[in-house]
Amino acid sequence: MRTFIQLLRIGFWMLPFQRGMTVLGGLLLCAGLFFQLPFNLPGSSVPTTFLGVALMVVVPLLTGGAGLRMLSSRRTLMLLPHARARLLTGTLGITLLATLVWIAAYYFSFMRAPPKFRPDFEANLLMFVLTLSLATQCLIAVFIASRAPIWGLVVIVAWQLPDVALRLLQIDNTPRLLAGPVGLAMVAVTWLVFGVWYMRTQQVSRSAWAGTGRQQGSIQAVSTAATLSREQAMTRWLLGASTPARIGMQWGLAATGLVAVQWLVHWMIDPDGTARAVNAMMFGTLSLCAIAIGAVSNTIAARSRGLWLVGGRRRLELHGWCERQMLRVVLAIALPFLVVGMVLWLVATPGLGLPGSYCC
């Protein structure tokens, strides 16, 4: 129980922006419940109640996987008895709690509506399964993607497989099955597989993830350190032992795979449907390269402090050097995204005539 309360605090109250979102969400929820705001009506696109609940649960619901992975790394917390089991159970409990709070928002929103408009038990169950499925997949995908984006992509593909398979088998009531017994079974199986792996794996760390031993990594680091120049060593420090080309390749592969999955799902489910929507979705996915670039440059800024005295540079010289490294990373990340975008533009959108300003 103590672990669950600690995880609750981490999920809802640890960082300033989390506290702000929780307080703001609570205020909006209370305003929606007690003051009968004129725009908090059933049927509205974003009722105040839903907005309040969404603000409160979005962080633990969508980023709980990254938090679980960070807590699972080698630290004194792992010395507690049954630490992993407690962490896993606590995370599952928070996922269930956030899902139930989201379902409760439906009840609160339709509390004053006429009975015929209120969602029945089946509708509530449908929403519960859908929300739990989304939360589960987000948690596990973020857990994996926070260390290896490619494996996060594999999870997304596996997530879509039952949907595609049911449609290929031409089963008529696919949405009802996915939001009912099949969806619930998918969630249970996913948690079971993830739980077994999580409890049995030796360590949740980078070397274990990459399939190489810790000792081997240390030997490799010592052997290559002797051959590195000062600039190369500084670059490695700044980029977290990686190179711009490797970072760009990883993000480019992830983006290509994600776009391919979107196109494949569109082609298998609705090949005769409008191509404009899926094209917009694919270009929208590619536009998210800004987040990848921002995250890498933020890491560069955070690591640059350690190079100030060691690198023998003044602050502005260090800034200029970091800026050049950052631009190399920007080029390495943006190039594959632009190439994929160009291919999409030429192949997937014949005659659509998207303007060139989209690329800028």
Partner: protein, 82 residues
Amino acid sequence: MIMPGLAAAWFGLMQQHQRSLLDPLAVLCVAAGWYYGLAQPLFTGSTQPHWEIVAAQFALVVWLREVALVRWRGADWRRAQP
């Protein structure tokens, strides 16, 4: 696609040592530029180029770079600082 990336890059670089109220404003500007320059035209299927938004994003990139430079110039790093 390029301009929001560059803006995010310099926004990340200006997160050095000190933060201020400019940061949420910069995030809003980057998000607004991405939304009005890319997301909304794609969603509505507009084929009319919005070069004025691209120009505004370019101005944002230049502004963020200047802010980053000023912050690095004024960074007060001490040897004992963690």
